[in-house]
């Protein structure tokens, strides 16, 4: 059975109250190639201090999605083991795509600053990578794990971006030979609501019902689930705790343990 997934980005009240567009972006897809089912999930958060961070986030996700699909289709090109060279090359390519746009717009690259998190999963294979904050959470039925704890700068309002000169220092890559049955990616607008920073643990009460609902919902019920999730993330109570843009990508594979 294939991966079931949903993804959404909502604009936080800090932007919407000023009629500004959101600066989060995500791209997710499930595909079948050579009798294998793949899930690819990507999310990016444009820097709040920039004018075009949201555009950077969009370009990064779309460029990377194409690259990863190409890698899957060409077969065997996905990074394994400690090999993070491919991930670095992917992010380099994202930066080039963003740089092309920034040159066309006549703006410095840093105005397109964004974080980036990504997952590629198939049976017997899991690749996670991340630059900056936000988080990837995986579940195997017994518990949940934050793959990388969100990398913040020293202060609450600082982090790292793929447009930074020193971006290679901040790429985190993890490869595994088992794909988890449940995968979530989210940007920093959600992280304080779903991670417990004091204990550095994942808050089960958020993910458990969501994964269960996604698993339970028939394919044609995911739209309903997305709608409710969107309403939840846009609710006043949530905005009172985090007025930033919020992106959530969820995927389940009912065949995996």
């Amino acid at each position: 059975m294939t991966w079931k997934h949903l993804s959404l980005s909502v604009t936080g009240s800090s932007h919407s109250s000023r009629n500004e567009p959101g600066q989060d972006y995500c791209r997710a897809g499930a595909l079948r190639f050579s009798d294998r089912d793949y899930f690819v999930g990507l999310a990016a958060d444009g820097a709040g201090s920039t004018t075009h961070g949201g555009i950077g986030a969009g370009i990064a996700c779309e460029a990377l999605y194409t690259l990863i699909l190409d890698a899957i289709r060409s077969g065997g090109a996905l990074p394994a083991g400690q090999d993070s060279v491919t991930v670095k090359a992917w992010i380099d390519a994202c930066r080039e795509a963003i740089a092309a746009r920034s040159a066309a717009d006549g703006l410095p690259l840093r105005e397109y600053a964004c974080t980036l998190i990504g997952v590629v999963a198939t049976d017997g294979y899991l690749l996670c990578f991340q630059v900056g904050d936000g988080c990837i959470v995986t579940g195997d039925g017994t518990g949940y794990r934050a793959v990388f704890w969100p990398e913040q700068g020293e202060y609450a309002n600082t982090t790292f971006f793929i447009t930074d000169e020193a971006f290679p220092d901040h790429i985190k890559t993890e490869y595994g030979t088992t794909a988890p049955a449940e995968i979530a990616l989210f940007t920093d607008g959600i992280q304080n609501l779903v991670l417990s920073f004091a204990t550095r643990t994942v808050h089960e009460g958020f993910f458990k019902p969501l994964f269960a609902a996604l698993k339970k919902n028939p394919e044609n019920g995911i739209a309903d689930l997305s709608r409710h999730l969107r309403a939840l993330l846009l609710s006043d109570d949530v905005n009172a705790r985090s007025d930033d843009d919020k992106t959530l990508v969820l995927a389940v594979n009912p065949d995996l343990p």
Partner: protein, 268 residues
């Protein structure tokens, strides 16, 4: 805060003329849901699904402490501040706390510490604005400015350690030095520490001179241009400071914190 635990109404659904089902009947009829959602103790979920026919039940959120926005005030209470200046400073300080207390987010995030000098005294350690002791500062003694800065930097270092130990994220601390005189102790080492802290982005240091303050010494201590208070406009200064703290404490990752121009209280 249980606010997020039970978002949806707990009321029973409108089920026409029928009577309420017992829990047992529910379990039998909807055993499928119970198997999926009920066993792990999150029975809320199954109830929601049953009652509201929603694809998504109530999810709960992690409780995290609010990120803190520390602000240290180094206040000159030397003898020359006696009379109107100290009265105005006290009044300004009171209005500062009132402003912060009146802002639902700032009251949870902004932490203020007060350190007076002449002699150096920690009036208040870092606390959110709801803990205000209303100290009523009195003017006395000389102006050990160097010692005050070193003690203040130490206070910040300790507070950061406490934040880290408790998994609390925080913003870059601000230090505001307010003085009306010139240092009566060795201040060069303090100036070096300020430069070091500024270049390491450990804190942001601002100096405000009052009346006959030695502005040239202040500009050797502070990397940022020191500002001169207009007359005794402490209230206007603290109004500006509370507004700045409010916007700083709201900033999200990647945001640049922009201080509004110090109009209304500073010369120049």
């Amino acid at each position: 805060m249980g606010l997020f635990d039970r978002k949806k109404s707990r009321s029973y659904p409108k089920r026409g003329k029928g009577t309420r089902m017992t829990l047992k009947e529910f379990e039998q009829r909807y055993s499928d849901y119970y198997h999926t959602y009920g066993k792990d103790g999150s029975s809320q979920m199954s109830n929601e699904l049953l009652y509201d026919q929603q694809p998504l039940g109530p999810v709960t959120f992690a409780e995290n402490p609010e990120p803190r926005c520390p602000c240290l005030l180094l206040l000159d209470t030397s003898g020359s501040m006696a009379g109107k200046p100290i009265t105005e400073l006290n009044a300004g300080l009171r209005s500062f706390y009132e402003e912060l207390q009146g802002d639902s987010l700032a009251v949870k995030r902004v932490e203020v510490a007060l350190l007076s000098f002449g002699p150096v005294r920690v009036i208040s350690e870092f606390n959110t604005a709801d803990f205000f002791l209303d100290p009523t500062l009195e003017a006395e003694g000389d102006t050990p400015l160097g010692e005050a800065i070193l003690a203040g930097i130490d206070l910040i270092r300790k507070r950061k350690d406490e934040y880290r130990a408790n998994g609390i994220s925080f913003y870059r601390p601000w230090i505001f030095l307010i003085t009306d005189g010139s240092p009566t102790d060795e201040w060069q080492r303090a100036a070096a520490m300020v430069r070091e802290g500024e270049s390491a982005k450990s804190f942001a240091f601002f100096a405000v001179g009052v009346q006959n303050a030695d502005m040239s010494v202040l500009s050797q201590i502070s990397v940022r241009q020191p500002l001169k208070l207009q007359g005794l406009k402490f209230r206007e200064f603290f109004q500006w400071l509370s507004n700045s703290m409010k916007s700083a404490s709201r900033s999200n990752p990647g945001d640049r914190i922009l201080l509004s121009p110090p109009s209304g209280w500073s010369e120049i």
